[in-house]
């Protein structure tokens, strides 16, 4: 985002509306607590003191879908869990984003069998896929930064 002009004396900053909106969307993006398997451990570690997601305004892992903007699908999704995942996604208010964290959520990973959904993009639209088994906290943060970059590219005229 760029501050397009600055009038020093009056202390007024002007900025494009879409930049301001995109900036505010990236800086207070509350993720939903949706840990399903071992990736959840790394997600907790990302949230903890050493990596500290609250630096990006993401300190609150909301257990309620109504209050969250970002769903981090951390772990393998079983066929039984799939309707639950979709329902939680539908309950999230717009705008909402999905990060598929780890191999199992992205494409099934090693669990190529009838019980596991082969990629959560069968159920929900995924914005960023994070590779790794499980990904390091740095990798998850890299995925989140990539999502932020993508949100900053959004334009008001494209909003439906």
């Amino acid at each position: 985002m760029g501050l397009t002009s600055k009038l020093g004396n009056m202390g007024v900053v002007t900025v494009k509306l879409e930049d301001a909106i995109n900036w505010s969307r990236t800086r207070a993006m509350w993720p939903m607590l949706f840990g399903l398997a071992c990736c959840a451990i790394e997600m907790m570690s990302t949230q903890a003191a050493v990596y500290d997601l609250s630096r990006f305004g993401m300190e609150l892992m909301r257990p309620s879908p109504r209050q969250s903007d970002l769903m981090i699908v951390a772990g393998r999704v079983t066929r039984k869990m799939a309707p639950v995942l979709r329902q939680l996604y539908d309950q999230m208010p717009d705008p909402k984003w999905v990060i598929s964290m780890g191999d199992c959520a992205s494409c099934g990973g090693v669990f190529n069998n009838y019980a596991i959904v082969q990629g959560v993009d069968e159920i929900v639209p995924v914005d960023v896929y994070v590779a790794g088994c499980p990904p390091r906290p740095e990798q998850l943060i890299h995925g989140i930064m990539m999502l932020h970059e993508r949100i900053k590219q959004e334009r008001i005229k494209d909003w439906a």
Binding site: D103, C107, Y129, G132, P137, E138, M145
Partner: protein
């Protein structure tokens, strides 16, 4: 007394600085044996180490590797020996970075290196082809495919050392 002991632990940490690593600007050092993105290695003379035997694909527990081999000729030589990998693809979203491919490789061609920033906007971007995996050529060396003299590179594994 227990109260004092409990608060002693709390107060001890007051004077400590924050432990947070400011990740995108500052990074924790990785361990020597960290396994990240793969690299296909070359010999010092620029020939590829991979001989297209597909042992890595057989060892892979996640079926993330796809290898197609083709014949080397002296006019178009990629690697020492009979065959080379024409197609070498790794699906980074399927790979679990276990390093079995590294162990299985008879020529030590595939090595898991320290690059870990692997996030994708699209699942298709996660399939890394040979040109993304292979190491750059050493300086001042002719690339592959190249023309070589007949009868020099007949063996695929020259005792695990760099051929002359």
């Amino acid at each position: 007394m227990n109260l004092v002991r409990g608060f002693a632990t709390t107060f001890k940490h007051i004077l400590e600085g924050p432990v947070t690593v400011q990740y995108p600007e500052q990074e924790r050092p990785l361990r020597e044996r960290f396994k990240g993105k793969h690299a296909l290695k070359r010999y010092d003379n620029g020939l590829e180490k991979c001989i297209g035997c597909s042992l890595c694909a057989a060892a892979c527990p996640a079926d993330a590797i796809w290898v197609e081999a083709a014949e080397n000729t002296d006019e178009e030589r990629y690697s020492p020996g009979e065959r080379y990998a024409k197609t070498y693809e790794i699906n980074m979203l399927r790979c679990i970075f276990c390093g079995y491919c590294e162990d299985a490789c008879p020529t030590e061609a595939i090595v898991l290196e320290h690059e870990f920033r692997l996030s994708f906007n699209d699942r298709r971007d996660a399939i890394y082809t040979k040109d993304k995996l292979i190491d750059p050529l050493p300086a001042g060396v002719e690339g592959t495919p190249r023309q070589t003299e007949p009868g020099v590179y007949t063996r695929s594994i020259p005792d695990m050392k760099n051929p002359d």
